[in-house]
């Protein structure tokens, strides 16, 4: 800022004090926030996994069998002596430093509750180093293969569970009819049209599909007998997914390979589904998990094998599973007391209870997942629609331009309205006036969509506005209509920004409690909701009421497990959206 003390004779002296102070102030601001959040997360994880009761031997065992091999894998992939030296230096030096600092604080200042230096080391040094090495390792071929493989396994399983959860509420029979009568004919017509160059068939595809869907809704009550759920999922999801996988492989490797890559996982998944049905497990979910894990993984494996690079990466899941098994065996053999985590499988599959050890979150998880799925669709459609109209179709000047600006200012103000007000709106409008019912899932989804709509609109508008006008003009100059320009130029270009805004808004929606209280959502339900009009509870509601329970086990253990579950689901959801966004970015 030379003008601050301008000197007519030349450049003069410029004080750097303000600049340096500013730099350190911004550093302080970021460190404060991150450290506070970090401490909160550390304590929540310690409570949820009962790490305070983990003996040092237990921690050391798993560190050696699980964390060290993982780090070694990442270092092997990175294949960079400098990184290896740095990582080992931090791990070793951190051990001494954390132990010394921790002991010093404990003896000189205050005792630190429910932490010991081993845990502090894991959180302060172990976790960041692991994250850094994961990042570095995944950048190279071996790591990319390993994490790509692992990600498809985990992501497919998560997707299968999520789809299975949605079908708890949405009528699978309507879906079966709609798919058979609407989707299949539409896709067939379209494919026929493009293969034989019959544009009429392509044009007819959409109306035919819509007709089929409408027919399905009417036929739902008329048709008396349906295939079992397992067959419905096999026909409507497993076979199309396998077909898509085969299609992806066929272009590269020919039909035989495609049939093998898609057919083997499909057959395994179908066999698994029928076996699960025989064993009394939830067969449709087993089928969905197997097929959504198996097909993408098989396609990925075939692609990597073709490329012929980084095949060692496939060892990563084996390494992790082996580490867990070896750790468990060693702990068992040594007789080391293992911690008893609150967040265990039964917490995710059981209903809430008055007994802390039996309490579970299952109905609330299902409620939250269903609501957030509906909110994502609704707010995306409404938000993108509104912002495209405001940005692309409204005039910039004249009385209508003024009206547009007034609307925009009001939308921005709506983003600051407290969520309780949206709750009241939802209670009055959706629950009472439209008669959708107090505390039902559909009322909640509509209310939360309205709540985040302003955020979605504003971010989508920003994204659309940032598309350079040159692109629009270029498209216009080619003779494109406004619809073609919007569809082919503006939306693809703006999609990453729109998705970023939607992700942030959904993160807010999944954690909301106040509007749910206002619309009368239940605090505790004992069964997962089975229709859009059944009462539900959401994770934040259940966590809130647990936090008020008299027993300390609820307030510390069960609440912490609930918070971690909520965070994991949030991260999973955001991860999916980020993947989609990155794909959209690459598409450009």
């Amino acid at each position: 800022m030379a003008t601050d003390n301008a000197n007519a004779d030349g450049f003069g002296e410029v004080s750097r004090v303000r600049g340096i102070v500013f730099e350190y102030l911004s550093l302080g601001a970021s460190v404060f926030g991150l450290v506070a959040l970090g401490v909160l997360l550390v304590y929540v994880s310690i409570d949820a996994f009962d790490l305070a009761n983990a003996s040092p031997v237990w921690l050391l065992t798993y560190f050696l069998t699980l964390v060290v091999p993982f780090l070694a894998f990442c270092l092997y992939s990175a294949n960079d002596p400098a990184v290896t030296r740095r990582a080992l230096g931090v791990l070793g030096g951190g051990l001494v430093a954390v132990a010394a600092v921790f002991t010093a604080i404990e003896t000189l200042l205050v005792p630190i509750p429910r932490l010991n230096w081993q845990l502090a080391y894991l959180f302060v040094v172990g976790a960041p180093v692991t994250a850094y090495l994961t990042y570095v390792g995944s950048g190279e071929r071996v790591g990319a293969v390993g994490f790509g493989f692992l990600g498809r396994l985990l992501g497919g399983a998560a997707l299968g569970l999520a789809v299975g959860t949605l079908f708890l509420v949405f009528d699978s029979l309507v879906w079966f009819l709609a798919y058979t009568l609407g989707v299949v004919p539409a896709v067939a017509l379209y494919a026929f049209g493009s293969a034989r160059s019959v544009p009429q068939a392509q044009t007819a595809a959409l109306p035919a599909g819509l007709l089929g869907v409408v027919a399905a809704v009417f036929l739902r009550g008329v048709v008396p007998t349906y295939p079992s759920d397992l067959l419905i999922y096999l026909w409507t999801i497993a076979i199309p997914v396998a077909a898509a996988g085969a299609f992806a492989v066929a272009e590269r490797r020919g039909r035989t390979a495609a049939a093998v890559v898609a057919g083997v996982p499909l057959a395994l998944a179908a066999a698994g589904g029928f076996a699960a049905a025989g064993a009394g497990l939830p067969a449709p979910t087993v089928l969905l998990v197997l097929v959504l894990t198996g097909v993408p993984t098989a396609v990925y494996v075939s692609r990597v094998v073709d490329a012929g690079e980084g095949l060692v990466g496939f060892a990563l899941p084996v390494l992790l599973v082996g580490g867990v098994v070896a750790g468990a065996l060693i702990v068992e053999a040594l007789g080391v007391p293992a911690p008893d985590p609150w967040l265990d499988p039964s917490f995710l599959t059981e209903a809430p209870s008055q007994t802390p050890t039996e309490a579970g979150l299952y109905p609330a998880i299902v409620g939250s997942v269903i609501i957030i799925a509906m909110v994502a669709v609704l707010s995306f459609a409404l938000g993108v629609g509104t912002s495209v109209f405001l940005e692309e179709y409204t005039p910039g000047s004249g009385p209508l331009g003024t009206l547009t600006r007034i609307i925009q200012v009001n939308v921005a103000n709506l983003a600051a309205v407290p969520s309780v007000v949206y709750g009241l709106l939802g209670l009055g409008l959706f629950a009472n006036l439209l008669g959708l019912g107090i505390g039902t899932a559909v009322t909640a989804a509509l209310t939360l969509s309205l709540l985040i709509l302003p955020i979605t609109i504003i971010s989508a508008q920003e994204a659309i506005r940032s598309v350079p006008d040159d692109l629009r003009r270029g498209s216009d100059a080619m003779g494109a209509t406004r619809w073609q320009t919007t569809k082919n130029v503006v939306l693809p270009e703006a999609m990453p920004g729109i998705l970023t805004g939607t992700i942030l808004a959904l993160g807010r929606a999944i954690g909301e409690t106040a509007p749910l209280i206002m619309i009368g959502a239940a605090t505790t339900v004992f069964r997962a909701p089975d229709s859009l009009f059944s009462r539900f509870s959401a994770m934040p509601m259940q966590i809130y009421v647990w936090a008020g329970f008299p027993q300390a086990d609820f307030r510390y253990g069960v609440v912490a497990a609930g918070v971690i579950t909520l965070l994991i689901i949030l991260v999973g959801m955001n991860g999916t959206a980020i993947l989609l966004r990155n794909r959209a970015e690459r598409g450009n």
């Binding site: 029979l173 007998t225 349906y226 295939p227 008055q354 009368g520 009462r535 008020g548 329970f549």
Partner: protein, 330 residues
């Protein structure tokens, strides 16, 4: 399909074998069908039960619901903790819930609201609670208060320092933590202690007992009140005061509350089923189950921390309930 090879010899044509395979497949699939109505029939109880109301009754009701839901897989109960008053005015008297829990009797204006909307109900006693006044464990100066002293602390124009209440108390400011005005605990405290003297607004009001406990535990000169359950689960965190209603101080406990010594702060807890809802068999059955459980020592006293009903009270409640069910199902 080896059969096509020697079709003439055996009389098995390709068409026939295809038909046979299709027939077998259809038979196989027939075992994998379901009917469109998806009903699970039978006389098993099924249907939703919606309950809202008092956060004090919440742990008791939710424990009973949990057991009932485990016994009857078709029943889908849900419960919201809204406060007694919030539950009546927002959900029960508008006909949206089947039961409303309350930690004090229904009030006249709420009865009017229910009557306007044509909601009829019966009153059932769920358990007895000992409303507990707590101070910080380090507050050595006080072990008990008379009802008059308690009223001085909480009335609309309250004492500001402890020595205004009793001369030997320290000259320190009183920090109050209590129930919010949507709570039945708040209403009952006014009725039992304050009456027309009104409740102070100079206090931290909350529906969460935990917040009261944290506030009092962190401040040597704080005072708070809430249901007995929280204190019984965390006796070391806070100090409960004896209450002197003229016959010497009585400490809150399940014994003193059930024997009637702990007055005036031992209070009945209620639940109000809607008569219309009792017309549905699964709700009537749940109400019966609830009344049966009110004498269950292990559940009411052990798990939740309230005083179970006596056999006599239970019989009375059961006959009130049966009359209501009869009226509803007529």
């Amino acid at each position: 399909m080896a059969s096509s090879h020697d079709a003439d010899a055996t009389g098995i044509t390709r068409r026939k074998s295809l038909a046979a395979i299709a027939g077998a497949g259809a038979l196989g699939l027939a075992g994998c069908t379901q009917s469109g109505d998806g009903g699970d029939g039978g006389d098993e109880l099924s249907g939703p039960i919606n309950i809202a109301g008092s956060s004090t009754v919440f742990p008791l009701m939710s424990a009973v619901m949990e057991d009932f839901a485990n016994e009857h897989p078709g029943v889908d109960p849900d419960i919201s903790s809204t406060g007694s008053g919030g539950g009546f005015s927002n959900f029960f008297c508008t006909g949206d819930t089947d039961f409303n829990n309350a930690s004090r009797p229904i009030q006249p204006e709420e009865e009017e609201l229910c009557a306007e909307n044509g909601v009829e109900f019966v009153e059932l006693i769920a358990a007895t609670d000992a409303l507990t006044v707590v101070v910080n464990p380090d507050a050595d100066f006080v072990d008990s208060l008379t009802t008059e002293e308690l009223a001085q602390i909480w009335e609309a124009d309250p004492a500001q320092t402890w020595d205004e209440v009793r001369d030997e108390f320290p000259n320190e400011e009183i920090n109050r933590f209590g129930a919010a005005d949507t709570s039945g605990t708040y209403d009952y405290f006014i009725e039992a202690i304050l009456e027309e003297r009104g409740h102070t607004s100079d206090y931290q009001a909350t529906e969460q007992d935990n917040t009261i406990a944290q506030g009092v535990a962190g401040d040597q000169y704080a005072i708070g009140y809430f249901g007995f359950a929280y204190y019984s689960q965390n006796p070391d965190q806070l100090k409960a005061l004896g209450i002197d209603d003229g016959d010497g101080p009585v400490e809150p406990s399940l014994e003193t509350a059930s024997s009637g010594e702990y007055i005036p702060l031992s209070r009945p807890l209620f639940t109000y089923p809607s008569i219309e809802s009792l017309g549905e068999e699964h709700i009537a059955e749940f109400a019966r189950y609830f009344v049966e459980q009110t004498t269950n020592e292990e559940l009411v006293a052990g798990d939740v921390g309230y005083v179970p009903a006596t056999e006599e009270t239970q019989e009375e409640q059961m006959s009130i309930l049966e009359d209501a069910i009869e009226q509803a199902q007529g």
